[in-house]
Structures are given as structure tokens and as C-alpha cells.
Amino acid sequence: MADITFTLNGERITLREEPNLRFLDVLREKLNHTGAKEGCGEGECGACAILLDGHIVNSCLLPLASVDGRDVVTIEGYRMTERYQMLEKAFIEEGAVQCGICTPGMMIAAESMLRENPDPTDEEIRHGLAGNLCRCTGYNMIIAAIRRAAKEGEGLW
């Protein structure tokens, strides 16, 4: 057991837990944040993606200890932002959502990508999404959504 302190969606919290717990389980089972999904548990699919100090990370491979002292944003926090609204609108308008199990992770990937590159080319978007698997779409509508959000949300990122 150890005390782990971090910021979760803007709120500082301290947990007394086993430091080697998977952070995805901590989020989903102890903190009731089920927006990050488990698709593979092995770092391949990106369904469990969160932002750690602003960068995308697969939380299924993240031991609780590694979030100590850091800033965590999950889809539950991200959904409160203006950037989220912009991406949400674009995802809806471009038909980027089918079953939706990959979608929260895709949103996190889009945010992480646009933060570094607010005006990505299609090729850059493809590479930015390479760590997130979607089995329902062929990605083209997700790519179109991110392109649209970047364009219509100029200045947001």
C-alpha cells in the first residue's frame, strides 16, 4: 500500500492502494470512471486511452504508481471542454461513431494530436490515430471528423 496523489480532471485526489494496480482498473472500479474502456488489456487498441500531462497514454499498461504527482484527464473531464464540443459535433456530422466502444479513446487521441498539431494533414491524422483500433468504421469518417473539427475549431487548439 502507498499513498498516490494526482489530479483527476482538475481535482486533486489521494488514494491509498497497491501501487502496481492497473490504472485502468483504478479508474473503472474504484473511481467509477468507466469512460475509458478495456478492449485488449495489452496496449494495442487505445480504447483505454487517457491524457497524462496532456499526452495520450494507454491506461491498461499504466501502474497506479506512475500517475503520482501528475495530471490525469479522462473522457469524463474532457467532455466539459469547448474542444470536446467541437470534436463531438464533428464526429456526429461525419458519422464517425458506430458501436462507440473505441470512440472515447478516439476523442482522447484527437485531442492529444491537435494539441501538438492544430492543423494536421490527412496523413498526419492517420498516423496520429495509429494506436487506436476501430473495427466498425474504416477510419475515413473519423479522419474527416478530426479534419472538420480542426478547421471549424480554428484557434481552439
Binding site: K37, V97, R126, R135, G138, M141
Partner: protein, 699 residues
């Protein structure tokens, strides 16, 4: 006011809750006092269970196995060979033998690992030798066609395993609600699950309730397999009397759940002196895996596609399902058709090349027209617009110019085109005799209308399109029509969510029910409208001889794929996909385009090139998403898709089937493109770099 065209896209009704992560998928559900279940699996492909040695179980932890089953130890489907929990013998690596159940997930996993089972190993069977189902049909006089042939040409084709690889693994949460087994899960067919559980639990109709949770992808993979996990879970619920969560991990899902059948197809054509195909013989072999499940139906659907979009007068088709000691294979989008369409599309090209004809003219000459007889002697009754479709596809892809340019072998580039059909709905009289679909609309006093059907939204959109359809017929705003997640306590059995039947059949019944409701609408009153499936009178089908109209309607497609093959690594860069589809009428254009994009990812890129799965001695070599490679955004080419209007008189607003059509023609299109790029005849999919190298080196 003129109504808007039904195809005009609207916001998908469940997009917001899915984007925000708020939609509660099965594994997001938490119940008080929830326990966890974990399977102990067979490590060998075949053997007798000699003894089970359990670790000492702490209080509150139990083992559940075949001895706990109150009813039949059979997963009720078509055959009764698939046990809920094996009693004496195991038949494949990964077969679940028993469950460990308890309150702490980690502890349950630890205990499951500590269970030791002693086996007497038996000689396993692999390959295409041990036939358990054989089917046959013929048309015309194939013997004579071959006797009088000027020449014959024959080839063999193979396709491999494909995993559905839905991103959400299989799972259920179950609890007892005043004695009722209540199962909430990631499923395609609520009533398949319910009926299987009824048989295993020897329960009464009202004692089992199945509820669909949001489904994180299925593609056929959640058609029959959930009947196994659900029956196991129900047996566990009876013993433990606590809520239980039962979710597969990715690796369990990969090694133990049904896949697309590997196939071997042999084709032989009899040609007359003008190089017209006057006869076709085909044999289709499917590796069924350890248990039959739905394999016989998959085989039949595959065989029915033997002549694809060509008219051949004399046909002889045989098929076998071979039982092997490998993971059971089953439903996967396309259901046998992708294997067959790969074979016949490649074969038509290979025959043309063999006789020295231009492949394009050769195919066009054999193409079906309205009024022709189908492979089983039924009639293509509705207008066929393949000419218009291929013209469109050629135009947007610049097919003919590129085809010519890439004839130069130095380019290592190629362009391929497939055309294909997909039979919509169940085969033959299946809807009428087996499924007997019923749908219900319920109107509350305040005018709210609820759609009560068992059709599942697994991403393909009926939550949106059904509401749109019913609202449109009733002239109501979308908000006034609701479609709650199917719950067998309230919804009638409208059949499984399979076979591209959801919009055409279930949607068709809903449109009729809505019309009835509209005509009898009384303000302020509670009202119901029911509809039951009635087969169109013109359909005649003889199941035993496989003769007549196999399907009430067909959807059609053309795929064009352009590739460039690396001269160094033989890796294929799939540059672009163009498609044209006739699915009658799109009930929501953007949803259909989404199906097209996803179908091409699985068909063109996945089954055609990228996705490799093999077993060695019954052990799958690809057990997770690290080894089993599915397309990423980088692998996926740009796509351009067109939807043609060709309304089917009996479909709602003219709609036919969509979901499978977008996959089935993909593999031959990419294989033909690669064939041109490398100047070798491709006979196997996926067309991997290793296979390309083999072809180039061996000629």
C-alpha cells in the same frame, strides 16, 4: 409540405452517449455483491478428462461444471453436439471446461490458474478430411455440359481464418431477479440466448430474461457464441445465487470464440467452342472446427453464391463441413459468401486468361440480367442495374486507363474490379418456417410510440434508422418514437440480428405496423400494432434439394481497388477503393456509407491482404491484437462510395440488405489488383507478402 427523402442523414441517436463514454457497455455495469466468473480451459486439442484437481477453495468461492446443469448439457442451436460444460471429452484448445466463481476478481483468476486437470490425450483431427455435413444442388444438365465441352478449366482457391476482432470482448452480467435468470450482455440475438438458457436450465418461459446492453461490435461473432457463455453463466447463477460478471479477456476471446471458416474451393468450368461457360462444377470445403454450431448454414450460404453475378445454365455444387479439433468456426459478416465470391471472381478471370480472352469482356458476357435463373433455378425478378453500376465504378476509378497502364510489369501496380451479389435475409423459407418474426409498436396515451423488437444495434444503426422509419410513416417527430434496448420480457421475437435482414425484414414489418397504427390512431388512447412475417407468395424453395428461390431479394455491388506492390518487401500499398452499391434504398445515407467504409476495412484490407490467423496442432498462433493484425488508420486507404437507388418493392421505402454486402466482394478486388501488379495468378487470400514472394519465385 413535401417530406424529406428518407435517405437524408440525421444525427445518430446514440452518438452523444457513446462519444462521452457515458453509454454503459456490459463491462461498465456494477451490481451490489457482484461476483466474478472465470473459465478454466483445455490446453490440449483432444482428450478425455481423467481427473480434476481443485485448489482449496476459500469460503465464498465455488467451481461450476457439468454436474451443476439442471437441464440439457447442450448449447441449443441447430445440432446438439456442443456441450455447455464438457463432461468427459474436450475437443479444442481453449474449450472452457468449468468456471471458478467468487467475490474477488483477482482471487478468482488465481484459483482458476491453480486448477489442474489430468487428461488422457487422444489423436486430434485437422484439415479437410472428416466431413460431418455434406450438401449438394444442381441445375440444368451439368453432366452433359461437361461431356460436350470443347475444353475444361479447373482451379483451386483457399481462404484463411478471420477473427471478428470486435473491440469489446464477449461478456454478460447476470443476476437472479425473484428467481428469474436475468442476463444483460453483448449479444446479437436475444432470443437465441433465451432459448438456449431455457433448455439448459429446464426453465419456464418466464424464468429467463435477456437484455441487450450496448454492443461494442459483433460482426457475427456475437451471433451464436453468447449462447454458450450465457448458459454457463445461468448455471453459475443457480449455484451461487449472487450477481455475476462474466467478461472474456482478449486472449480468451481470440482462442475460444468462433471465427470465419477457412475454406478450400475447387472449381471446374466447361466451355463451348466460343469460350462460353456452359457448365460449372464446384466443391466447397469449410473447416468447421470442433463443434458444428451454424457451420451447415454457413456452408449453404457459401454454396448458393457459387455463380455470383454470372448466369451459368448447368451447375453442380457440392460442399462439406469438416470437423476438426480446432476452435469452432461460425458466423462472420458474409457467412460463407466471402469465401465463395473470392473463388468464383478469381476463377472467372483465370478461365478468361486460360482461353486468351480479355477478362473484362469475358465477365460481361456472362453477367446476370433480370429474368435469368439463379444458381438454384430461382428467378432474378427485380431490375438489375449492374451495367450502370460498373460504368459508374469505372468512371470514378479511371479503371480502363489504369488497367492498361499497369499492364507494364515494371510498374508493379495493379487495379482490380469485383462485382457481386448478396442474398438478403434468411435462405429459402427460413423466415417463414424457422424465424416467424413478430414486431410490435406500442402507443402510450400521450402519443409516445415505442418500438418493440429484438433487433440489436451493434453499431450498424437500427436505433436510429428504425425510429426514423417509424416516425416517418407516422408523421411524428423523431422524439416521439422510442426504441429501448431489446429486453425479452417486453419485446416479441423479431428474429436474430443477422443476414442483413434487419432493415429489409424487421424494418419492413415495422413500417407496416406503423401504417396500421396510423390508420387506427385514436388520440389519448393506449394502442398496439403487431405484424408477423409473411413470405411473398412467389417464393418457392425446396430445402432438401436446394432448389428454387434461395432469397427474396439481392443486393449488388462493384468494388475497384488500386494497389502498388513493393519490389523489395512485397508489401502491398492499397492506394484507393471505389465502390458502387445497389441496396435498394438507403434509409440513412451516412449510416450506409459508414457500413461501406467498415466493410471494406474488413473485406478489402483485412480478409484480402492483412489478417493472418493460423493454427499449429490446434493451437492458434495469433492470440491477441499484437499478433493478429487488423487494419489501423494507416493501413486503410481512401474510399469513395456511391449508393444507387433501385427500390425493392417489398422493402421499407425500397430498402434491401446492407451490412454484409460491403464486405463480401472485397477480397477478390484486392487480389485481382495484386494479380495484375505481380503478373501471377493469385489463388489464396489473404494475399500476404509471403505468398506474393512464393508466387514470384515459383512462377
Amino acid at each position: 409540405m413535401k417530406k424529406q427523402d428518407i435517405s437524408r442523414s440525421i444525427e445518430k441517436v446514440d452518438s452523444r452517449e457513446k462519444i462521452s463514454g457515458a453509454a454503459a457497455f456490459t463491462s461498465d455495469i456494477k451490481l451490489d455483491g457482484m461476483h466474478y466468473a472465470k473459465s478454466v480451459r483445455s490446453p490440449i486439442p483432444r482428450g478425455r478428462i481423467k481427473q480434476v484437481n481443485l485448489p482449496s477453495l476459500p469460503k465464498g468461492y465455488v467451481v461450476v461444471d457439468h454436474r451443476d446443469i439442471p437441464g440439457e448439457n447442450v448449447v441449443k442451436m441447430i445440432h446438439d453436439d456442443w456441450p455447455v460444460f464438457p463432461k468427459t471429452e474436450v475437443a479444442y484448445i481453449g474449450e472452457p471446461i468449468l468456471l471458478v466463481v467468487g467475490p474477488d476478481k483477482e482471487k478468482v483468476a488465481e484459483l482458476a490458474d491453480a486448477v489442474e486437470i489430468e487428461f488422457e490425450e487422444l489423436e486430434p483431427t485437422f484439415g479437410f478430411t472428416n466431413s460431418a455435413i455434406d450438401l449438394h444442388y444442381d441445375k440444368g444438365d451439368p453432366d452433359r455440359a461437361f461431356e460436350t465441352a470443347a475444353r475444361t478449366v479447373s482451379y483451386e482457391y483457399e481462404t484463411g481464418y478471420q477473427d471478428q476482432a470486435y473491440i469489446e470482448p464477449q461478456g454478460f452480467v447476470g443476476y437472479l431477479d425473484e428467481g428469474t435468470y436475468t442476463l444483460v450482455g453483448s449479444i446479437q440475438c436475444p432470443y437465441y440466448v433465451k432459448n438456449a438458457v431455457l433448455a439448459t436450465m429446464a426453465a419456464d418461459e418466464d424464468d429467463v430474461r435477456v437484455i441487450q446492453a450496448p454492443v461494442g461490435g459483433a460482426f457475427g461473432g456475437k451471433e451464436e457464441f453468447p449462447s454458450l457463455t450465457a448458459t454457463q453463466l445461468a448455471v453459475a447463477l443457480r449455484k451461487v445465487q449472487k450477481p455475476i460478471k462474466f467478461i472474456y479477456e482478449r486472449e480468451e476471446d481470440m482462442i475460444a470464440t468462433t471465427k470465419r471458416h477457412p475454406s478450400k474451393v475447387r472449381m471446374e468450368a466447361a466451355l463451348d467452342e466460343n469460350n462460353n461457360i456452359q457448365g460449372l462444377r464446384a466443391h466447397v470445403g469449410l473447416d468447421g472446427g470442433a463443434y458444428l454450431g451454424l457451420s451447415g448454414v454457413v456452408l449453404s450460404r457459401g454454396m448458393l453464391a457459387a455463380t455470383n453475378a454470372y448466369t451459368i445454365d448447368n451447375v453442380w455444387v457440392d460442399g462439406d463441413v469438416y470437423v476438426t479439433n480446432t476452435v469452432p468456426n461460425g458466423a462472420f459478416r458474409g457467412f460463407g459468401a466471402p469465401q465463395m465470391i473470392f473463388a468464383i471472381e478469381m476463377f472467372i478471370h483465370h478461365v478468361a486468361k486460360e482461353v486468351g480472352e480479355d477478362t473484362y469482356t469475358f465477365r460481361t458476357r456472362h453477367q446476370v440480367s433480370q429474368g435469368d435463373l439463379t444458381s438454384t433455378g430461382g428467378v432474378y425478378r427485380d431490375p438489375i442495374i449492374l451495367d450502370e453500376m460498373s460504368k459508374k465504378a469505372e468512371e470514378i476509378s479511371d479503371y480502363h486507363r489504369k488497367r492498361k497502364e499497369y499492364e507494364d510489369p515494371d510498374t508493379f501496380k495493379g487495379i482490380g474490379m469485383s462485382w457481386f451479389l448478396h442474398g438478403c435475409g434468411f435462405t429459402g423459407s427460413g423466415e417463414q418456417e424457422k424465424i416467424k418474426a413478430r414486431v410490435k409498436l406500442k402507443k402510450d396515451a400521450d402519443g409516445t410510440v415505442r418500438i418493440l423488437v429484438a433487433a440489436v444495434d451493434m453499431g450498424q444503426g437500427p436505433k436510429t434508422t428504425f425510429r426514423k422509419l417509424v416516425a416517418d410513416v407516422l408523421d411524428l417527430p423523431l422524439e416521439q418514437v422510442l426504441f429501448p434496448y431489446p429486453d425479452t420480457r417486453y419485446v416479441p421475437d423479431s428474429g436474430p440480428t443477422v443476414a442483413s435482414r434487419t432493415m429489409m425484414v424487421v424494418g419492413g414489418l415495422l413500417a407496416r405496423a406503423a401504417k396500421d397504427l396510423k390508420e387506427s390512431w385514436r388520440e389519448g388512447e393506449v394502442q398496439e400494432a403487431m405484424q408477423r412475417y409473411k413470405q411473398p407468395d412467389y417464393i418457392e424453395w425446396d430445402q432438401d434439394r436446394m432448389k428454387g428461390d434461395a432469397y427474396p431479394a439481392y443486393s449488388w455491388g462493384v468494388n475497384v481497388v488500386e494497389v502498388e506492390v513493393s519490389k523489395v518487401t512485397y508489401e502491398v500499398d492499397i492506394k484507393h477503393v471505389w465502390s458502387v452499391y445497389d441496396l435498394g434504398k438507403a434509409i440513412d445515407e451516412r449510416i450506409v456509407l459508414g457500413q461501406a467504409d467498415g466493410g471494406q476495412a474488413q473485406g478489402v484490407v483485412g480478409l484480402g491482404y492483412l489478417e493472418v490467423m493460423e493454427h499449429e496442432g490446434g493451437a492458434l498462433k495469433q492470440k491477441n491484437l499484437t499478433d493478429y493484425i487488423i487494419p489501423t488508420a494507416v493501413d486503410m486507404p481512401k474510399t469513395e462510395n456511391h449508393i444507387m437507388d433501385n427500390p425493392y418493392p417489398l422493402g421499407p421505402y425500397g430498402a434491401k440488405g446492407v451490412g454484409e454486402l460491403t464486405l463480401v466482394g472485397g477480397p477478390p478486388a484486392v487480389a485481382l489488383a495484386i494479380e495484375q501488379a505481380i503478373g501471377r495468378r493469385v489463388r489464396k487470400a489473404p494475399v500476404t507478402p509471403e505468398y506474393i514472394m512464393e508466387l514470384i519465385h515459383n512462377g
